[in-house]
Symmetry: C2
Subunit: 180 residues, 2 copies
């Protein structure tokens, strides 16, 4: 993705955060992370992120999902001696469909991008509407998708080390470089 | 405080959260914690709390402060081998005046309740408006007060163990019983 596209999606994400009533400083608004995971299919696979804090012990973020946009299947492994990342997702606006290990849900609300469907193997569905939340314990495979209007989701977690995340889809690169 | 008063303040806190655009489930709204710290001077000293999650590793809350209401000076000590609680305050609505150790600020915006002033010994001021945040490392003495319209503040932290908090004011009881 080039810088101009990043700026465009930052503006779009800011509009979603506005709808959720979430106030950012101008500096935060100008540095919303547009994560396309190196696939260059941002409207299908990816998400926007505002990282409020990420210390050795605590991390808090806002996540923005476009309508039908998918954050692909991944998990957070142990890093050295530290247990994997634990995270709570709380829906603030819109609707999000979260999938984790467990009994597959018949007729799930989300479908992953068709050309990447083979990488989606966990199908226990949790539907989160505003005020709903779900806590994922470490080393739980999971993926999630924005509903028909998209979603804004707060994430409360232990330290985030995105570079360690393991994705099912081997084409994914969590930290690609932005092109000039 | 009796149950009727608790219910009244829960409704008031819910109105502040509504203004901040924060959506609660009905169950959450009905169980907002009204912490008067055993002083029975809630409008002067205390706060409202919604605890979203509090696991072994992560805690996230919303805090509600009435206009001029003070959360009194305290710190979070080590518990067994665990380092003290680390917390980030992010203002969502209104204005909050936070005081921590360090150079005293001349002409501070807040004044603690006069009859308890002797218990307030840290005076380095941080003013937080919507979108502003501040991270407190463990074992930092701190207190804070809602501005003229009150405040809604998100707190992202490590595990919260309120029963271990140390207050300067020895009349305080963090977990008093509600009277019938």
């Amino acid at each position: 993705m080039n810088r101009e596209e990043v700026k465009k999606w930052q503006r779009v994400c800011k509009e979603y955060l506005d709808r959720a009533g979430i106030i950012l400083t101008p500096q935060e608004a100008g540095s919303i992370e547009i994560a396309d995971l190196g696939l260059d299919e941002f409207e299908q696979t990816g998400l926007g992120l505002v990282v409020y804090v990420n210390t050795e012990r605590v991390c808090a973020k806002e996540l923005v999902l476009l309508p039908g946009q998918t954050c692909p299947q991944h998990f957070h492994p142990k890093v050295d001696d530290a247990p994997g990342k634990e995270e709570t997702f709380r829906c603030r606006w819109g609707e999000v469909y979260l999938y984790v290990s467990g009994d597959p849900t018949p007729n799930p609300k989300a479908q992953p991008p068709a050309h990447r469907a083979a990488n989606y193997t966990v199908w226990h569905e949790i539907v989160l509407k505003p005020g709903d939340q779900y806590t994922l314990m470490p080393e739980t495979w999971h993926w999630f998708q924005g509903g028909p209007e998209g979603a804004v989701v707060s994430e409360f977690s232990t330290r985030s080390t995105d570079e360690n995340d393991l994705f099912t889809d081997k084409e994914i690169n969590r930290l690609p470089e932005i092109e000039d």
